[in-house]
Amino acid sequence: MKELQELAQSVEQGQVQKVSGLTQQLLDSGVSPQTVLNDGLIAGMTVVGEKMRSGEMYLPEVLQSASAMHGSLKILKPHLVREGAQSRGKIMVGTVKGDMHDIGKNLVSIMLQGAGFDIVDLGLNVPPQKFVEAITAHQPAILGLSAMLTTTMLNMKTTIEAINAAGLRSNVKVIIGGAPVSQKFADEIGADGYARDAVLAVDKVKQLLGVTA
């Protein structure tokens, strides 16, 4: 559909006004909110993700696209709720205890939101117990842990152990990231996945949740 393509393109170009306008227009013309979301917004953000990976788009441009998407989501949300549309999944993220690096984690959040996931961000310097409590409260499908220091990366292990001890490990998949960690480390501490960067993080989340597009 031409209008949906235009919407996707406007998301890609980060045109906040135009995206909101088109969203309203599409809803008014009877297109389902789910279709607007999938074939307009998420389609646009998928291209954004690819362009970021290939180096054709810089972060401020990506964030501009994300803003445009958010504007549209504000309009869509009530309709989606009304129709009982399902979220693609809830992801919780946080930087582990002792670690004050959050730029990487923030990027991961943004890209996941762009891909249509709901995000709960616990911030940085998050102790294991706080992760445990938040899992109970928010029931995320996936928990993403970030660490940038060789001396805090082991707190990822501690966090997973705390989740285990609380009997919650089977409720939530855990993925990890950050400069010093690796797939090997993920295997060692019993995480379910690792991703090198924010774009690959989206792929990994989709893979774990069995989302295909």
């Binding site: 970021m52 180096g55 810089y58 972060l59 401020p60 441009e61 964030l63 002792g98 004050m100 959050d102 730029i103 923030n106 990027l107 911030g123 940085l124 310097n125 220091l149 060789t150 001396t151 990366m153 082991l154 010093p180 960067d197």
Partner: protein, 457 residues
């Protein structure tokens, strides 16, 4: 503001040379910086391990091993001088006695080397700025601030010869502004907020240094400009933005000197050459030698004006030859031999040209680090009198430099970079002359991120 810099200490860029600084620094066991020689500054950190009370013996063992290998390598390499930097990890600053304990260990090893084979050497100690554990950070009061000041005190008492920090005031705003490519926010953070925090913090550091007869080194805009450099090297930000942030960040780092810092500057402070041009003090730099710690587009040019040459940081892991810190000390030592041979044989200008020319045409971030660019940015800064105006002037000058370089085809900027350069230029031009005016709009946009009280506002 105690001292204010209204003229360049090195007015002619051709006077900017590695190994020579108009205001040399003597420290530690007879180490003289800026007096005609370049020395290695060795950095290291812990490998993957738990850092807490339960594992403290293992932590100590690492620093003992590093100390031993420094002694061994310094002798084998016939080093003419050495600076060792101990950069604390956060828990070592939170528990000031921990940092002091490691300081004492490294001090002992250097003392031994000086005694055994006369090595001129010194120990730089850099506590972690842990004041941002809460968001918005409370930069002027509370436990972290107290621990940080205690850490300076105790490390000074334990044998530090130079104290430094990489302070983070205003980073909470800068991080966000950077990601959005918002120049208003960037300049506000670097020119309005950060200098206020620097002034607060550095007066305290200089006081500690005076009471312990320790050299107040300097600060690094790492959390600002290196974050931008990293993001650009990952393709997330345009290189021209990272270059402009670098230039603009020099002003907040300069505030340390206004408060009494004497250098040497921090290795990761690539704004060092600008600081050298203005203050005349020796600088530490790092480039290809720091590829163990981060990749950069300034591997050679970064060396052009250095007085210390550093590897930034490497974990104490075992390479095929031996401990990684020892391997990096060897690397630094050979690089320093080249600087010093050039100085000795009077070919330092030719060698500096190689270092500069080999990088500057390949990257805007390298281009603004040349002696000529450095001189221009430094001049633009000293012409102004408020930190805000200085910051804006530095940013604008760097835009001009890059634009001219593009026009002269000295720099190959692709169309996206050119677009961004013009966007940055427009944004900078649109900034108000009056910083109060900016404050109002920024409080609206970033007010939730920072506490005005932290900046005495």
């Amino acid at each position: 503001m105690s001292v204010s810099f209204r003229a360049l200490s090195v007015p002619d860029p051709s006077g900017l040379m590695f190994g020579r600084a108009p205001k040399p620094v003597s420290c530690g066991f007879g180490l003289e910086l800026g007096k005609g020689q370049v020395y290695p500054e060795l950095n290291f950190t812990l490998p993957t391990m738990v850092l807490d009370e339960s594992n403290w013996a293992a932590v100590v063992a690492h620093y003992e091993e590093i100390g031993t290998s420094i002694q061994r390598a310094a002798k084998r390499l016939k080093l003419p001088g050495l600076m060792v930097e101990f950069e604390l990890l956060p828990p070592m600053t939170e528990h000031p006695s921990w940092g002091a304990e490691i300081t004492a260990i490294l001090h002992r090893h250097l003392k031994q080397a000086h005694k055994d084979f006369g090595l001129p050497c010194a120990l730089r100690v850099t506590p972690t700025d842990i004041r941002d554990v809460t968001r918005p950070p409370d930069l002027r009061s509370g436990k972290p601030v107290e621990a940080l000041l205690q850490s300076f005190e105790q490390c000074a008492a334990a044998g530090a010869d130079v104290l430094s920090i990489e302070s983070v005031g205003a980073k909470e705003v800068h991080d966000e502004a950077l990601l959005y490519g918002d120049l208003d926010g960037v300049i506000f953070a670097l020119g309005v907020l950060a200098p206020r925090d620097m002034d607060f913090l550095w007066k305290k550091i200089v006081t500690v240094c005076s009471s312990h007869k320790v050299v107040p080194g300097a600060d690094s805009a790492c959390g600002f400009a290196n974050t931008a450099m990293q993001l650009s090297s990952q393709g997330m930000l345009p290189e021209v933005l990272a270059a402009v942030v670098r230039a603009a960040s020099a002003v907040r780092s300069l505030v340390a000197y206004e408060c009494g810092a004497l250098g040497p500057s921090k290795d990761c402070a690539y704004e060092g050459p600008i600081l050298k041009a203005i203050t005349g003090t020796p600088i530490a730099m790092e480039g290809k030698s720091a590829s163990c710690a981060h990749f950069s587009p300034v591997g050679n040019v970064a060396a052009a004006m250095c007085d210390l040459w550093s590897n930034e940081s490497v974990q104490n892991v075992r390479l095929l030859s031996g401990p990684a810190p020892e391997a990096y000390l060897e690397l630094l030592a050979y690089d320093c031999r080249l600087f010093n041979q050039a100085l000795k044989s009077g070919t330092e200008r030719a060698y500096q040209d190689l270092l500069v020319e080999s990088d500057v045409h390949l990257s805007p971030q390298a281009y603004i680090l040349s002696p000529i660019s450095t001189g221009r940015i430094a001049s633009a800064i000293v012409k102004e009198s408020s930190h805000y105006a200085m910051t804006l002037a530095a940013a604008r000058e760097s835009v001009l430099i890059l634009r001219e370089a593009g026009q002269k085809k000295e720099l190959d900027l692709n169309s996206r970079e050119i677009e961004w350069l013009e966007r940055i230029s427009r944004d900078l031009d649109a900034l108000p002359v009056d910083e109060q005016q900016l404050l109002v709009s920024m409080q609206e946009r970033y007010g939730h991120l920072f506490s005005a009280a932290s900046y005495g506002l």
